[in-house]
């Protein structure tokens, strides 16, 4: 056995030494993946998860043509909504209609709300001011958020006066008779007045903003200062008792998208890094040193084993560095269960190393290996859920099967199970992932050895 292991260890040690001397290689193995994890983590957090790991926010640009105290107060109410990021910022210059349209054309803005002249006057007169929205129709997700946020703020600004009118329109659209519509609207208006009376604010409205005085009934700023929290009202229409259940093993501030993007990018970059390590076999062939190794008095399998050990050692090192980095930057709770992390990482490293060896022994040239590996890794990353949580989508059967055929899927299931669901390595979900990864590692290694003997060793 030592006849095999000793030269294999020498090859692995030599390759590690060369690895650490190659500055470009180090950059590709550690710095670039770390930079990508950082960039993607922040981008995804910003785009989908909110900075505090809460709900997503949609950007809403506002053109205030009225410039009244009421319109400014309305914009402030919009700013107070969790789902909206209102532009321009309070300290920035106001936005003109022309500027907003230009931003829409350039794709910088996707929803522009125009508050027309007379907005404040209409509110003060107890009317329902008409608003105008310019939008990019391709942004349906943001459209939903903007609509919800705007409805809530508008209800607040109009003291709920929009409610009877909305109810009337709804009934009209549903085919109700004009008489039924009128009586329903009247009843709704009466209810609204009763509510205002209950809040004691009929006569207390601010003359300029049309809003109730500060501290009068408002409680959390979500209601536009009216005292009527319409966001909460809509949520509470369903008799729902909400209880938070945070797995004790999960970091309290971890958002799903950050856990997803951190583990996804680490898995993808590991595959790129380890293919690069494994293909040192092809570099040795091109430089002539492989012939020298094969002509030596060592078992030829020592060359393959040496490359495997080197690739696996690099992989573990890369995982350790990237997970430490992710923990320091995003506090994802990576080290809360070190045993599970170790078992998962060893399994993934073995599988990805075997994948790299398979590519290296199959390819006829370095260019072929790099091209094919890049294609496979990108496809596996996309299909297997390293970029987006595809496992959460309802997919057609072929796509579901394709997903389960990727290394990425099983790696992601494992890491997401550990980070997000707080599962230990003995849980059925993680044991399945670990089992699949090891099965792949063993199968691909045996196939790589066969290819090594048939395609790499001289005939």
């Amino acid at each position: 056995m030592s006849r095999l292991l000793r030269p294999a260890a020498a090859i692995a040690a030599k390759d590690l030494r060369l690895f650490f001397r190659d500055r470009v290689g180090l950059l590709l193995a550690f710095l670039m993946p770390a930079a990508l994890v950082l960039a993607f983590g922040f981008m995804m957090q910003k785009a989908f998860g909110g900075e505090d790991g809460g709900m997503a926010r949609a950007e809403l640009w506002v053109v205030d043509q009225d410039g009244s105290a009421a319109s400014r107060a309305f914009v402030d109410d919009l700013r107070g909504l969790a789902m909206l990021e209102v532009r321009p910022a309070p300290d920035d210059a106001p936005l003109s209609l022309e500027g907003a349209e230009a931003s829409l054309r350039k794709g910088r803005a996707h929803h522009v709300l125009v508050l027309p002249r007379g907005f404040g006057d209409a509110l003060a007169a107890g009317e329902l001011p008409e608003l105008r929205m310019l939008r990019d129709p391709g942004r349906s997700l943001e459209d939903t958020l903007v609509t919800i946020g705007l409805s809530s703020a508008y209800m607040g600004a109009t003291q709920g006066r929009a409610w009877p009118a909305m109810l009337g329109r709804l009934l009209e659209q549903s085919g109700a008779s004009p008489e039924a519509v009128r009586s329903a609207v009247a009843a709704a208006e009466q209810t609204r007045r009763l509510m205002e009376a209950a809040l004691g604010r009929n006569d207390g409205k601010d003359a300029e903003t049309g809003r109730a005085p500060e501290g009068d009934g408002g409680d959390d700023g979500q209601d536009g200062g009216s005292g009527l929290d319409f966001t909460a009202f809509m949520r509470d229409m369903v008799p729902l008792e909400v209880e938070d259940r945070l797995p004790p093993e999960r970091a309290a501030n971890l958002s799903h998208i950050v856990a997803q993007s951190v583990s996804g990018l680490v898995v993808m970059m590991l595959m790129f890094g380890l293919v690069r390590c494994a293909t040192t076999l092809l570099r040795e062939r091109d430089s002539g040193t492989l012939d020298r190794l094969l002509a030596a008095a060592s078992p030829r399998d020592a060359v393959l084993l040496g490359k495997f050990l080197f690739t696996a050692a690099s992989g573990l090192l890369q995982l350790a560095v990237l997970f430490t980095f992710a923990e320091l930057v995003f506090h994802v709770g990576m080290f809360r269960d070190p045993v599970t992390l170790l078992v998962l990482s060893l399994s993934l490293t073995a599988a990805v190393t075997a994948f790299g060896m398979l590519i290296a022994t199959w390819a006829r040239s370095l260019e072929q290996a790099n091209g094919f590996a890049t294609l496979l890794i990108l496809v596996m990353s996309a299909v297997g859920g390293a970029w987006f949580p595809v496992q959460l989508f309802d997919m057609p059967l072929p796509a579901e099967v394709a997903m389960r055929l990727t290394l990425t899927h099983w790696a992601m299931t494992g890491y997401q199970g550990m980070l997000w669901n707080g599962l230990g390595w003995t849980s059925p979900t993680l044991l399945t992932s670990i089992g699949v990864l090891w099965a792949f590692a063993v199968g691909a290694s045996l196939l790589a050895r066969r290819l090594f003997h048939r395609r790499v060793l001289p005939a």
Partner: protein, 246 residues
């Protein structure tokens, strides 16, 4: 010592080595002299265990020699490839240490062997410099020294002086002569007449994968009916004067 008996090898339909036979004696330098495409490198590959002969037999000290299949059989060989086969980002000492371990040199002997190899290559003062900083001649000298680490009784030298300056060439020849005088058998492939004439005790002239003649320089000259002729004249007489581009 090493007998090559009716050795053949083909790349698909192209026969590169066609029933080649010769013997390398103990302590001699045997030259393989042939034009491009004569089959020198393929023969070396078969001897070094890098290719499995299609037919024929190799015998070492009277027993069947299977360098392709048997790891321990390769221990008697030291291969000096035609191209410099070293790790450019490792130092000379690190290259020697690595190949010493691969060749199975005992750890307690490794330092002494490395020192001897550095002396052989004339690189004692550059031992801890990276190969990437070496001249072509220095790399060629180290390329030779690496093959001697495990003290093999047979050295296979595939055009080891290609592209080296006169000083390095002189040093390489001196090193090879020392090895031969120390009892090593050298199989030296070249198409440089002066190299073969200077170093080799006997010469095998090859062409189209076949042995055309074997003998000392004088025997070869006499064999073509031109006693006293230089090796180039003998060579051209044996192989003809047509150009060889492959």
């Amino acid at each position: 010592m090493l007998e090559v008996c009716d050795l053949s090898y083909a790349y698909g339909d192209h026969v590169a080595v066609d029933g080649m036979s010769f013997t390398l004696r103990r302590g001699e330098a045997l030259g393989l002299l042939g034009p491009n495409g004569a089959g020198k490198t393929t023969t070396f590959s078969c001897l070094a265990g890098l290719r499995r002969p299609r037919s024929g037999e190799l015998r070492l000290e009277g027993r069947t020699f299977l360098p392709f299949a048997c790891d321990t059989d390769r221990a008697v060989l030291g291969l000096v490839p035609q191209e410099v086969s070293l790790y450019a980002d490792l130092t000379a000492r690190e290259n020697l240490a690595f190949f010493g371990r691969i060749q199975g040199v005992a750890p307690e002997e490794l330092d002494d062997r490395i020192a001897a190899a550095l002396t052989l290559a004339g690189l004692e003062d550059r031992a801890d410099h990276r190969i990437a900083t070496f001249s072509g001649g220095m790399k060629r000298r180290l390329n030779l020294a690496v093959a001697t680490l495990h003290q093999p009784p047979i050295l296979l030298l595939d055009e080891p002086t290609v592209g080296v300056d006169p000083h390095s060439r002189h040093h390489l020849f001196a090193a090879l002569e020392r090895l031969r005088d120390g009892g090593a058998s050298l199989l030296y492939s070249t198409h440089a007449m002066e190299d073969a004439q200077r170093l080799c005790d006997r010469i095998v002239v090859l062409d189209h994968g076949r042995v055309l003649a074997v003998g000392t320089h004088e025997e070869l000259a006499a064999g073509v009916g031109e006693p006293g002729a230089d090796l180039e004249t003998v060579f051209l007489h044996l192989t003809g004067r047509s150009l060889r581009d492959s």
